[in-house]
């Protein structure tokens, strides 16, 4: 799979997405439906808000002792026969994984969902080196066959309709032309991927939580693909960002009660597997990846983003994500959380993302671990502004507004002139080419007088 990293601007990509209004409506409704399922699940637990607070505090604590917990995790994991690796960045992560493949003469790899491996662009790297990587999560397999990145961290193919998948499977899996029944298509994928599981040399999984106390890690799926990969292959490689470590087993209870409910409204994923030692005859590896996380940790403004448990609730609720689609963010993790993580990885490439927001704060409201997402979006804008990463037109607009709003006389003149213009030449004001505000809106009727003038009149009476 080729993951093309474009320097697209979210606004441009979103504009293209928005041209298909019917599709946007459908995409929007579908994601809002997932949000509403989350609400239903959350409302069944009277302790929901307290659960969020507990989870937030556990994560805050973990980050404040991150070095200790990583060392404890490493020590216990090694004692249990797991080989632990440390990777400073994406490239090193990819090299470590390839090295393990080479050691075992592996060429067939199955991979369950891991946003970290997406972030590191592992697939194209392995393919370049002659390794056949099959993504086994159904949604991920679908986008892999389509040669595109996932558009959502939990629902990778949410942007596709069953017709697209039907055509795709007809082309690649030999299903009937025109068939779109999800059950039929899923069965075809099951048969196709079962063969991959049975023949894989190496299984790569992500890590939902790593437990310092036990040296083990937890992987959650509904499909069973992580387990089928890991238990049938001779080698299991688990890849995780360093922020995924939590102190104790009992903390899993808190996070697991929040994770599935926040993601899809389920009370749990079907499978929640706890790996502690390799199976007899098997080799197990754990790769701990930094890739900018230590830099994020050092920032008081942005370190809270490391609490993320990758549930996707922020995406489901975000009005901008729902109407622009994950691909508009041109990064592995899209939506609100992606927009505060990506600029840390590459500020120039992702400078547009913190602006892809109305700062409505809905994301912060649903985040199970209480990340102050919308506040970080705002803070990133300040950082980007100071770094000169804001585009000239926006900068000019902001400077213009600064001039206008700090000169009351000029402001009043502009208001009077604007009202007169709108009255005399309404078509000009409504011209989208001259007035970007009018692209999707009709300008209102200009009032006869400004509020200031009206108020002054009332004072006289």
């Amino acid at each position: 799979m080729e993951t093309t990293v474009k320097t697209t601007h979210h606004a441009e990509a979103a504009a293209a997405f928005l041209r298909d209004e019917e599709n946007v409506d459908w995409h929007n409704e579908t994601l809002w439906f997932v949000r509403s399922k989350r609400d239903k699940a959350a409302n069944t637990l009277p302790e929901w808000e307290d659960l969020r607070e507990q989870a937030s505090r556990i994560k805050n604590h973990s980050l404040s002792r991150l070095d200790d917990y990583l060392l404890e995790l490493e020590k216990n994991a090694q004692q249990n026969g797991i080989t632990v690796h440390w990777a400073s960045d994406a490239d090193e992560h990819n090299r470590i994984v390839l090295d393990i493949m080479r050691q075992h003469n592996a060429t067939q790899v199955v991979k369950s969902k891991s946003m970290l491996t997406e972030e590191c662009h592992l697939n194209p790297y392995l393919i370049k080196h002659g390794i056949d990587v099959i993504d086994t999560d159904l949604g991920e397999r679908i986008v892999q066959l389509r040669n595109e990145p996932p558009s959502h961290i939990v629902l990778p193919a949410i942007h596709l309709k069953k017709k697209h998948i039907g055509d795709l499977f007809h082309q690649h899996l030999g299903t009937d032309a025109g068939a779109t029944d999800p059950q039929y298509l899923t069965e075809a994928a099951r048969i196709h991927l079962r063969q991959k599981f049975l023949l894989a040399d190496v299984a790569i999984t992500g890590v939902n939580f790593a437990v310092a106390e036990t040296g083990g890690f937890v992987v959650c799926t509904n499909e069973g693909n992580a387990d089928l990969g890991a238990h049938l292959a001779k080698v299991h490689i688990a890849c995780m960002g360093i922020e995924k470590v939590i102190p104790k087993g009992e903390h899993l209870g808190v996070f697991l009660r929040l994770l599935a409910r926040s993601a899809t409204g389920q009370t749990t994923t079907t499978y929640t597997s706890h790996f502690r030692r390799p199976a007899p005859g098997q080799t197990m590896h754990l790769v701990l990846v930094d890739n900018g996380r230590t830099r994020q940790l050092a920032s008081p403004d942005f370190r809270n983003s490391l609490k993320c448990i990758r549930c996707g609730a922020c995406m489901n609720t975000c009005p901008v994500y729902r109407r622009s689609g994950g691909h508009s963010y041109h990064t592995a993790i899209a939506g609100p959380i992606g927009s505060i993580l990506a600029p840390n990885i590459d500020m120039k490439q992702y400078a547009d993302l913190p602006f892809a927001s109305t700062l409505c704060g809905s994301c912060t409201n649903v985040c199970p671990v209480k990340i102050d997402i919308h506040q970080q979006l705002y803070k990133w804008r300040q950082v980007l502004g100071e770094a000169g990463a804001i585009e000239p037109t926006k900068k000019a607009g902001m400077t213009g507004m600064d001039v206008l709003f700090s000169r009351p006389g000029l402001y009043r003149f502009a208001g009077r002139a604007g009202r007169r213009l709108m009255k005399l030449f309404p078509s000009l004001a409504n011209n989208g080419k001259l007035n970007p505000w009018a692209i999707h809106r009709d300008m209102p009727e200009p009032p006869a007088q400004s509020f200031r003038d009206w108020y002054a009149e009332q004072e006289k009476k």
């Binding site: 404040s64 069953k162 069973g224 808190v254 079907t270 929640t272």
Partner: protein, 192 residues
């Protein structure tokens, strides 16, 4: 070395110590008397079949009528002698399995999660690769929440898993399909 670099960067940048919450977890909202019904309802919500029985004989009778026991079957439950399949070192042959019968050690009412550890499974792939799963759970080992279950399970096990139903996916236009890569069906028998 990356390890040293990462640890050093963490030490330099991490925030001041924030304390852990004093209490972890919350009391269950499910009354003891409702545990069994809640559990069985959640099994159904998750796409499984939940059956209340009074004895292992009942379980045996129901399994015998529901499944074709001439197909490859493995049972790790004492009293349910249904084995007609001998696993070998070649794990790929497990693909033929039609039915695996396992005893869950403890189960959670709020989400129907059932815990199986290494000792129970023997071979880790069993409950995932088989077409159908039957789980035997005792009411005595039913708890309300995930907080409670983590007090009961032994996380020192080399491998353990919570299984809450048959495999599923909604990746195709959000249409729920039961039976993705793991088992297509799961029946849970709840014994006293």
């Amino acid at each position: 070395m990356s390890r040293e670099r990462i640890l050093s960067a963490i030490r330099q940048g991490k925030p001041d110590l924030q304390p852990l919450p004093e209490v972890i977890g919350f009391p269950s909202n499910i009354a003891d008397a409702d545990l069994a019904d809640t559990f069985l309802a959640m099994v159904k919500t998750n796409g499984g079949i939940g059956v209340r029985v009074s004895s292992l004989d009942e379980v045996l009778a129901q399994i015998t009528s529901e499944y074709d026991l001439t197909l490859p079957t493995l049972s790790h439950v004492a009293g349910l002698d249904l084995n007609n399949f001998t696993p070998t070192e070649n794990l790929r042959l497990l693909d033929d399995l039609n039915l695996v019968v396992l005893e869950g050690q403890v189960a959670v009412a709020e989400n129907a999660a059932i815990w199986f550890d290494e000792a129970t499974l023997g071979i880790r792939a069993l409950p995932f690769i088989t077409l159908n799963v039957v789980a035997i759970v005792s009411e005595r080992h039913l708890v309300g929440t995930m907080h409670e279950v983590y007090k009961r399970v032994d996380l020192n096990t080399s491998f353990g898993t919570f299984i809450a139903g048959p495999s599923k996916t909604a990746d195709i236009e959000q249409s729920l399909v039961i039976g993705a890569h793991g088992s297509k069906t799961m029946t849970v028998f709840l014994l006293p």
